[in-house]
């Protein structure tokens, strides 16, 4: 009898662990559908431990990379400087023309309003961890609830929209990047205002799905957030259209979009301490309980 029990011990353990993992998946999925997804205190502890360790691990590599870049910069400094001086002059001139044109068209007020909207508090955060699988695209940052970071807040860089905070711990947060296959953002073409949805593909490019026919979407067009859906503020730069496919038989047409953010060199990001009313409704008070836009499941797109 005892020998039989001994022989059954491992298979029983194996099946029990499999069932446990299936159970936790089901429970988490249900929780995500019911009230969004936020980390429990015990699981947040894992991020709390991992963030500083990963910061230590990334520091030496970052130092070497910084030195190497510094060396490379020095090599081409003179030529680069001359080129940039010329570029700055050209851009200043171009900028002046744009300002004049905008003033004339009355859109300067709109841009000023947009700027006011974006002038929310921003928290600078260091990216200390990347994704563990090529199938998921998220990043771990070293700022969390203690710094005012909450789930559902947009994450940007100087180049544009980077993603969305999907889980927070006291001193760390997980950000789902635009590239994630579960990411969907309401966007539009800046030039023609053609609306659509920008999907992550798990690769370096995004897919812009739109229903408008004609030449409303062209290669080179800038894609920005539309503000619909209430996750991201309107006007954040997403990327640039690099190719358009318009099969006649399909209702939805597609364009490939190169993100404006260089996700391969994502080192520092800014968390906009802003949540739309929609997100406030989606997320309960994080300090008291747990908020959460579904990182999995529902579309966290705007």
């Amino acid at each position: 009898m005892s020998e039989l029990l001994e022989r059954l011990r491992v298979p029983v353990l194996f099946v029990a662990l499999l069932l446990l993992s299936l159970g936790t998946m089901t429970a988490e999925r249900r929780a995500a559908l019911a009230r969004g997804r936020e980390l429990a205190p015990w699981s947040g502890l894992v991020l709390e431990i991992a963030a500083p360790v990963q910061r230590v691990l990334t520091a030496p590599v970052g130092l070497v990379r910084g030195l190497w870049r510094g060396y490379l910069d020095l090599v081409d400094l003179k030529a680069e400087n001359d080129r940039l001086q010329g570029r700055v002059s050209a851009l200043e001139e171009e900028n002046l023309q744009y300002r004049e044109a905008l003033l004339e068209s009355g859109r300067l007020g709109e841009i000023a309003a947009l700027r006011d909207q974006f002038q929310t508090d921003m928290v600078a955060a260091q990216v200390v961890g990347g994704e563990l699988s090529p199938l998921l695209r998220s990043a771990l940052v070293d700022r969390g609830r203690a710094h005012g970071v909450r789930s559902g807040m947009p994450v940007v860089t100087g180049q544009g929209l980077a993603g969305l905070v999907t889980a927070t711990a006291p001193h760390a947060a997980r950000v789902m990047l635009l590239l994630d296959r579960q990411s969907a953002v309401d966007g539009m073409i800046e030039r023609s205002r053609a609306p659509g949805i920008v999907h992550g593909q798990g690769t370096g490019e995004l897919r812009f799905e739109f229903a408008v026919r004609g030449d409303d979407v062209e290669v080179g067009d800038a894609v920005i957030t539309s503000g619909l859906g209430g996750v991201y503020p309107k006007g954040l730069r997403i990327g640039e259209v690099v190719s358009v496919s318009k099969p006649d038989a399909r209702l939805l047409q597609e364009a490939q979009v190169r993100p404006s953010v260089d996700f391969q060199r994502l080192e520092q990001v800014y968390v906009m301490r802003w949540r739309s009313p929609t997100m406030e409704l989606l997320y309960t008070d994080e300090d008291a309980a747990a908020p959460a836009p579904p990182r999995t499941g529902g579309r966290p797109g705007s």
């Binding site: 194996f14 894992v46 590599v61 997980r174 296959r181």
Partner: protein
Amino acid sequence: MRGALLVLLLGALALMLQGALTTFLPPALCPDLRLLLVIGAALHLGAGSGLLVTAALGYGTDLLSGALLGQNAFLGLLVFAAARAVDGTLDLRRPLPTAIFAAVVSPLCGLGLTGLAWLFGAGPPLDLHAVLGTGLQAALNGACAPFVISAVGEAVGWTGEVEAPRRSGSLGRPTPLGGVRSPR
């Protein structure tokens, strides 16, 4: 038990190292150290302790990444079982079979990961780009597997602990999951 704890500690460090590496490299160019450690645990740890270590590493991965809690643990347990089953017929301690096994299992894990996400309504079905991404990582996993798995063996040996399957096995191979040794 000391061996299992050491592998668990190595696994935790590997997860953080992998997370740090992917801030500089595309994820597809970083070997899946957790997967390799799970294979190593299957070959060098006892079935019971190995299963527990595998589940713990899986849950750790789920917490650090955005996967559903239990997703990587579930797949890790299947990989663990597969490694022990395959080791019953092929000697996975030799570099070539190890590399092939790791390279084959990696994309299957990728498929499993997206399949589970899709099954639970938490993600879209797998697309070609994602398959290519896992393919590249699979090759890398295959190349790294002999070294990582050998290191796990060394680490377990360093603790001075001889795990159950190695002690009882006439050829030093772990028994299959049920503890019943396949005829060789």
